[in-house]
Amino acid sequence: MFAFFMSSGLFLGWSLGANDASNVFGTAVGSKMIHFRTAAIWCSIFVILGAVISGAGASHTLGKLGSVNAIAGAFIVAFAAAASVYLMTKARYPVSTSQAIVGAIIGWNLFTGSPTDYNSLTKIVTTWVVCPILSAVIAIAIYKVVVFFISKFKLGIFSQDILTRYGLLLVGAFGSYSLGANNIANVMGVFVPISPFSDISFYGWFTLSSAQQLFFIGAVAIAVGVFTYSKRVMATVGEGIFKLSPVAAFVVVSAHSVVLFLFASQGLQNLLIQLGLPPIPLVPVSSSQAVVGAVVGIGLLKGGRGIRWRTLGGIASSWAVSPIIAAILSFILLFFLQNVFEQEVYRPIKYELTPDAIEQIQTAKISLGGIEHLFGNEFADARRFHKLLSHQKMLVDQNHNFIMASTEFDKLEISAHRFDVINNQIITEKFLSPLMEMGGVVFNHKWQLEDALAARSVYWRQKENEKTHTASLGRRIDYICKVFRTEEN
């Protein structure tokens, strides 16, 4: 069943491969500098590597925007995104899967009454605007360096030809890696929270997390898109829209790849944090818009003539139009799937001000001024509860989120007979034994389980500044919740 529901994600991946691979290798193939087959092979390999190795960063941001928690819902979200990409492409609008998937997730949020994290949304939208501008700036810088290099070393026509070919191949590989790392979140991001896969360890050398396995499948779909459909698009890009010399193409692809990498690299983000600099948000951006930004950058450097301002207007309007169409489509399709086909498109989340939750909030020294009268009340829908909290002017945003997390009702019963179901690849012995000690205990909130486990075993405790450890703990907790969740939720 999961395979069927994931098909919409694969469809989205395929269309991403068919369209966006042409941004990376289009000019090189169109101008006959690189054979299509060579380009397709390199592109596929590096998209897969990028997705599996560095795909987690951007998908985390999408996850924060809205955590799609039922498989049928994820199917619709990905399908709505893919369909709007298809429709917009037909209408000849410059479209991006990133924008479509964000719209589709917001559609799911609206349908299910989940709150949209405006912090993440602002971060994402700002990044979309920044992406082409940054790409233009980087293209200008790279262009200057390349021109200096060519004139300084007096490169002959044939040497330049060879260097450009290898250069195009290398930046193409880098571009494909960045594309995989940055955009796999669009394809598979919504399936991550509900992935049925468990971590696979390869003789202790390295571990493929469940998300990485999903990313691998998504990246293969992208690769199929590259092989089956991108040839035509590449020819159009190479000869039609951007008539670029191979050297200019090299500059454009380099700038595009750097930008996509910047918005996908967790390593770089950690480095910036360590240096005390503001980190770059990890957000899926549009590779087409990065390319257009770079081309415009070179155009501006050459005096600004011949820039098609209409194309730029199209990009700006697609920032608004694509997400709105995807959101509407997602909303309508979710309605149909839920009411006509009777599928569960989301797992409802309740909020309850239980005595435990109140104690937790008070321990964190957050004032409950104004909402005491709600003690013991249940809220079936996150948005209503969120709205209620918003009326409390005393609460700052962060406290707001803390209260939401503390009151999220999730009844978990650690019943002994469920221990057999646990996959011992995900919950290994050292993680399992503290859990088994708690047999029979009932929790009302997820954080109670986390606290109880952390109190019992050092393995379940969070460590400061260790993001991967925190992430893998989170995955284990989510898995345990899935196993021990009771019907009462």
Partner: protein, 216 residues
């Protein structure tokens, strides 16, 4: 794509050099040939004629194989058309030198002694303009920024040869000892030689466009 392309690149660069050597050489042979002709040294003239014919044949086959290689191996796809045109134009210059030599051999024009120096000067200017063109073409392949250093010399020598050619034609027609038919024959010779410089300038004009197209 693999590393064979690197080897092909070295090969093709060398062959283009060889081809341009042929063009340059044909100019020198032409100059020496006309010198021998004016001195009345028939044997030496015929030897130069033979050499220039051979050089032209070599040039032709080199050009053909270069064209084939550029297209078959999709080298420099963005400038391929321009490079082919340049090679063909350079080959035309080579042909013209050979053609002029043959014309001497066929018609054996009687050139009055007082015009010998002007004739030599004309030939020298024409050969210099083609030589400057060959240097420009070499620079186009090796160091594109240096093309303009050589290209302005093509125009300079073309103008010089125009001046000499006008002077010569004036002298020919003001010479009362020559018959009209003889005058017309000599004038045709002068124009025929001068046109080689004009052609070199045309090639240079085209080359300047190729350079702009390749400018980054």
């Amino acid at each position: 794509m693999d590393f064979r392309i690197l080897k092909r690149k070295l090969e093709i660069g060398k062959r283009i050099d060889d081809f341009l050597d042929n063009v340059s050489e044909s100019g020198l042979l032409f100059k020496l040939g006309v010198d021998s002709y004016l001195k009345g040294n028939v044997e030496s003239f015929e030897k130069k004629l033979e050499d220039i014919t051979q050089t032209e044949n070599q040039g032709d086959s080199l050009r053909r194989s270069l064209e084939e290689q550029l297209y078959m191996q999709t080298l420099i796809p963005e400038s391929r058309g321009d490079v082919l045109e340049l090679l063909e134009n350079m080959d035309t210059l080579l042909d013209r030198f050979k053609g002029a030599m043959w014309r001497f051999e066929i018609e054996y024009p009687a050139i009055p002694v007082e015009m010998h120096n002007d004739f030599k000067e004309l030939v020298s200017c024409v050969v210099d303009s083609v030589e400057a063109m060959v240097r420009s073409a070499r620079a186009f392949f090796k160091d594109i920024a240096a093309v303009s250093d050589h290209m302005h010399k093509v125009s300079y020598w073309e103008k010089q040869s125009d001046k000499v050619s006008t002077r010569l034609q004036r002298n020919i027609f003001r010479n009362n000892e020559l018959q009209l038919s003889h005058k017309l024959q000599l004038r045709d010779f002068v124009i025929h030689v001068d046109q080689i410089a004009d052609q070199a300038e045309d090639v240079a004009d085209k080359l300047s466009i190729y350079v702009i197209k390749r400018s980054l």
